[in-house]
């Protein structure tokens, strides 16, 4: 029988006894982002600690992807600052886009080796493929991969060069429960190895299970970054799902499933590792 364990809790109890003392590697302070007259983010401050999975959740259109793009410096904030505070490495931040896609005509191994050739440090491509469970598919053309395997290849690409921070934008979106869980497991393993993992997701079940810290974005502002259960306790509710509804709506009962892509009978609810 496989024991029921929470990877985030295990990490907190072993690798990081005092998570508040975790080193901040990426920080955003008083971030505001406007597109013309439309304000997407307002006075958002966030600290991304090393060796932890930080999840940003919230309804569609609340600025999760925008916040990730600001952290990646793909865009500049209208006001406020984003500061990388981690070690100086060949690659500072890895990135898994929401819909990762790769140049067709190349195999999985060739694709990872191509990205490996973009960093100065030596990269063990085989180890990366092993880490994302794609060793058996190493000679398969990328256009022949399933959606989940493409996402895993994207995760593999994001960790090329061992960046201290990796950012996953909706890593479980559109994946079956097993594959979605596998992607989150990789996030767990990266955090356990000391990487700061930042991700967005609508899958509150996986977030609750794997994230060390959760931040809920609603109408351009955020709740305090804290552990999922702490958030639930603060709002006097049972779990992250109810805390989410308490934050994004006045009446959780009226909100139904909200934007959570996971159906009520999601098999991941009972999945144990």
């Amino acid at each position: 029988m496989i024991p029921n364990t929470n990877p985030a809790t295990e990490r907190a109890n072993t690798a990081q006894p005092d998570r508040n003392a975790a080193t901040t590697v990426l920080a955003g302070e008083s971030i505001e982002k406007r597109y013309g007259s439309v304000e997407v983010l307002s006075d958002v401050s966030i600290e991304i600690p090393a060796a932890a999975v930080t999840a940003l959740v919230g309804p569609n259109g609340t600025g999760k992807t925008t916040l990730l793009r600001l952290l990646l410096e793909l865009e500049s904030p209208t006001s406020g600052t984003v500061t990388y505070e981690g070690p100086q490495t060949a690659r500072r931040i890895g990135y898994l886009p929401q819909r990762p896609s790769f140049r067709p005509g190349f195999t999985v191994a060739e694709t990872i080796e191509f990205y490996a050739s973009l960093v100065e440090t030596a990269v063990d491509s085989d180890r990366i493929l092993d880490r994302v469970r794609l060793t058996d598919a190493r000679n398969r053309p990328v256009e022949a991969l399933s959606g989940g395997m493409t996402r895993l290849l994207g995760v593999g690409q994001s960790i090329v060069g061992s960046p201290p921070v990796v950012i996953f934008d909706e890593p479980a979106s559109g994946l079956d429960p097993t594959m979605a869980n596998r992607v989150f497991e990789v996030a767990d393993e990266l955090a356990a190895a000391g990487t700061a993992v930042v991700l967005t997701s609508h899958n509150l079940s996986l977030v609750s299970r794997h994230a060390d810290r959760v931040e809920i974005l609603s109408e351009g502002t955020v709740t305090e970054l804290t552990a999922p259960q702490t958030l639930a306790t603060r709002y006097g509710v049972a779990d992250l799902r109810e805390a989410y509804h308490a934050v994004v709506t006045a009446d959780p009962a009226d909100h139904g499933d909200g934007d959570d892509e996971r159906p009520r009978d999601d098999p991941t609810d009972g999945e144990r590792q």
């Binding site: 990646l72 140049r103 005509g105 191509f114 050739s117």
Partner: protein
Amino acid sequence: MTAHSALGQGTAIAAREVKTVLRTRIYALLAVGLFGFLFVLVAGGGGAATGYTPAIVDLLLPLEVIVPVLAIAIGYRSVVADLDRGELAVFTTYDVPAPVYVTAVYLGRSVGMLGMLGLPLVATGAVIAFTASPDTGVFATHSGVDSPVLFGRFVVLTALYGLSMLSIVLLGSVIARSLRTAIALAIGAVLVAVVGGDAAILAGLTDGWLGPSSLSWSFAVVPNSAYRSLVLETVIAIAAPTEEAYGSPAASAIGLFSWIIGPLFAAAAIVARKRL
């Protein structure tokens, strides 16, 4: 970023472009098709039987049209496809500088362009060597003699023209935000640069704001006119000298190189500022 890593990144990206070209069968088919077309032109026009220079005369005008088409085929997807897949955003996390990326993509695609264009032209030259009259085998050292050297010069000039067209198409691919707009932009950019330029010169002469004395530099400003001018002055005029100069070879050469370098600078500047 050190110079070494920029060189390493550029080499990796250029190598990926070369592999992409080599693995895309349509490009090989286009090269074969081009050879067939050139063969029909020189055979049908009689150039193949009479020598290199007559064959060049047969090929010049069709190549002015075909080369831009090849450039569009090989270059319109080059950058916009990376943007479409989100790879340009990913490249920023590897600190790939925009000039390195643009130059590497261009160099990689250039290998394809030169292969697609150069191999059929060299094959055509070989056909002429076997079918033309005996004195075309002479490597001329003075004017008035047909020679493979002249054909070689024609191939080099055509390659330069192709590279300038590829540079313009790549700029269109950088500006585009989707594959659909990329093909439209590539066609539009080539039409403006080629047909628009010739039309502007013609309009200038007709309306009087361009005098005959300005023609020399006017030809140099338009890529296909610069190419035509160079071929006429440095290839055909060698074998068949005329009293009237078509244009200034130096100005045309500068013009053609400017059409290679200029769009690449613009493309790098746009990629650096593009919302990825």
